[in-house]
């Protein structure tokens, strides 16, 4: 009996998760269909880029700096044993541009800006602002959701690039200034080894895809939240957890795909 109960629970949970995924996908389709307003009135989207970006700017810059510094310390330690400290710039730049920049900035963005988007939309719903707008014959998905969605999607690559730039700067401070790696080698080797398509473009694609994932989860959770204080706070938590997991899963898929594509 107990076993059947737990199997039923697992089944119900799985069905619930699949149903929710379906709802989120339908919602994403609705956002895309109603994106015309965001294009014809770019000021709406620019405003959201400003908010999402400004919210995350400091945390992303500071984190980038620290991650770059740590990478330099760890990398130097390992490279030194092979006598190739001058490769430090390459190691740091590739790690940041390909992986850490897009992934870590996306995780930070999900918890900083993603949660804010969910909370804002959820509160607008709880205080009947969404219904009021609909009653004014203004489509809330077009006017409220789509600009926030595109604002998040567009800020993500910019923030990831900033994260990587700060990281490289941090590695320069630690590697060149503190540990004494040759400054010419540091930059020249980096420049020679980082490929535009294979590394930079792929990094941008990754962060844009992460942006879509986070924006979709954050706007869906906000729009779908029960219109109560508790409902909104739960939705905000779900945004952080689900969009972080989504980023890591997407990263695995994208990395596998990109490795194969460029490997041939």
């Amino acid at each position: 009996m107990a076993e059947r109960g737990s199997i039923a629970t697992v089944g119900a949970f799985t069905l619930g998760a699949i149903r929710r995924l379906g709802q989120a996908t339908l919602f994403l389709g609705q956002v895309l269909r109603h994106s015309g307003t965001s294009l014809t009135r770019p000021a709406l989207t620019v405003r959201e880029i400003y908010f999402a970006g400004a919210l995350s700017l400091i945390i992303i810059m500071v984190s980038g700096l620290f991650v770059g510094m740590v990478l330099a310390l760890q990398g130097y330690d390992t490279l030194q044993t092979y006598g190739s400290e001058e490769k430090l710039g390459v190691l740091v730049a590739l790690s940041l541009v390909r992986e850490l920049g897009p992934v870590v900035s996306a995780l930070l963005f999900a918890s900083r800006a993603g949660s804010a988007i969910t909370a804002e939309i959820g509160l607008m719903k709880a205080t009947e602002q969404i219904v009021a707008m609909d009653m004014m014959a203004v489509h809330p998905v077009a006017r409220v959701v789509a600009p926030r969605f595109w604002g998040a999607v567009l800020s993500m690559p910019l923030l990831a690039a900033l994260f990587s730039a700060m990281g490289i700067f941090g590695a320069y401070i630690v590697g060149v200034r503190l540990l004494g790696v040759d400054v010419g080698a540091f930059w020249a080797q980096m420049q020679a080894a980082v490929d535009f398509e294979q590394d930079i473009l792929n990094g941008v694609i990754k962060s844009a895809v992460f942006g879509v994932g986070i924006a979709a989860v954050a706007t869906f959770e906000g729009f779908d939240a029960p219109p109560t204080a508790e409902g909104v706070s739960r939705a905000t938590t779900r945004t952080v957890v689900h969009s972080s997991l989504l980023v890591l899963a997407l990263d695995l898929v994208l990395t596998g795909f990109m490795m194969r594509m460029w490997g041939e």
Binding site: E120, L123, M124, T127, E128, Q129, V131, A132, M133, D134, M135, M136, A137, V138, H139, R143
Partner: protein, 269 residues
């Protein structure tokens, strides 16, 4: 213009779930140019009725007709065309919290018209002046008192001079002075705009002063109707209880419950 009522509701029934019916066989009409009150205790389905008029929910049976069109038969575009001619004051204001008072009033003008900026500015200031809040244009909703927020929401509801204005509890939680002011505002903006108004309220004294006709609801049904004078003179027990604010009468103050003394653990005898 025809003489047909602007809003016609026929045998309307509705429930949010099939388990519980909120409105049962409601039939009423709102003539053009009039201010009609929908009165009734809280929870009797007044807000729900406004939602049905605005097309936010679909009836289970019956229909709502506004300006000759059946609301639940309209498609999205038709519904939005209709809503542009409706104004609604929400029970809790529902002001856009990320916009100033000015931008709240200007919102529909910017969304639905191509008016130049200085025309919008003049219109917004006129609307705000009518509610005595021209000086508050640059404040954010969080900086307003309850009464001020209500007046801003009132100005926003009539921003585009709608043909039909719905007010959900415009008097709730106001001090006596604001109460009179809001009542006069509703009456005046109805007559000045040539609009038609539906006022949902449980404030009997205020609304009897300003409305032309009253429908009294209880438990999702219309139990009485008439002009304010007829309502005051009525001997109908429910009307009498409601108008005079008596706790005992056909409408029970208490939600059905078991014996009070037993619930408190007091033994009889």
């Amino acid at each position: 213009m025809s003489d047909a009522p602007l809003v016609e509701i026929q045998d309307l029934s509705f429930g949010y779930s099939s388990a519980r019916q909120i409105l049962s066989d409601v039939t009423l009409s709102v003539p053009r140019g009039k201010v009609v009150a929908l009165m009734g205790g809280s929870g009797c389905g007044k807000t729900t009725l406004l939602r049905l008029i605005g097309g936010q929910v679909r009836p289970d049976r019956g229909y709502v007709k506004v300006a000759g069109e059946v609301i639940h038969e309209l498609d999205q575009a038709g519904l939005y065309r209709m809503r542009r001619r409706m104004g609604m004051l929400f029970q809790f204001g529902a002001l856009f919290t990320d916009m100033s008072v000015f931008e709240n009033i200007a919102f529909q003008m910017r969304e639905h018209t191509d008016l130049p900026e200085d025309a919008i500015r003049d219109l917004v200031l006129m609307k705000l002046n009518a509610v005595g809040l021209r000086g508050a244009a640059e404040l954010m909703p969080s900086e307003l008192s309850g009464g001020m927020a209500r007046r801003v929401a009132l100005a926003r509801a009539v921003a585009l001079d709608p043909m039909l204005v719905m007010y959900d509890e415009p008097f709730a939680g106001l001090d006596p002075i604001s109460l009179g002011v809001v009542g006069q505002l509703i009456r005046r903006s109805n007559d000045a705009l040539g609009a038609t108004s539906v006022v949902v309220t449980h404030d009997v004294q205020q609304s009897l002063h300003i409305v032309d006709y009253v429908y009294l609801m209880a438990d999702g049904r219309i139990v009485a109707q008439g002009t304010p004078d007829e309502m005051r003179a009525s001997t109908h027990p429910t009307v009498h209880q409601f108008i005079h604010g008596e706790a005992d009468g056909p409408v029970a103050f208490h939600y059905p419950a078991g014996d009070y003394a037993a619930a408190l653990g007091i033994m009889h005898g």
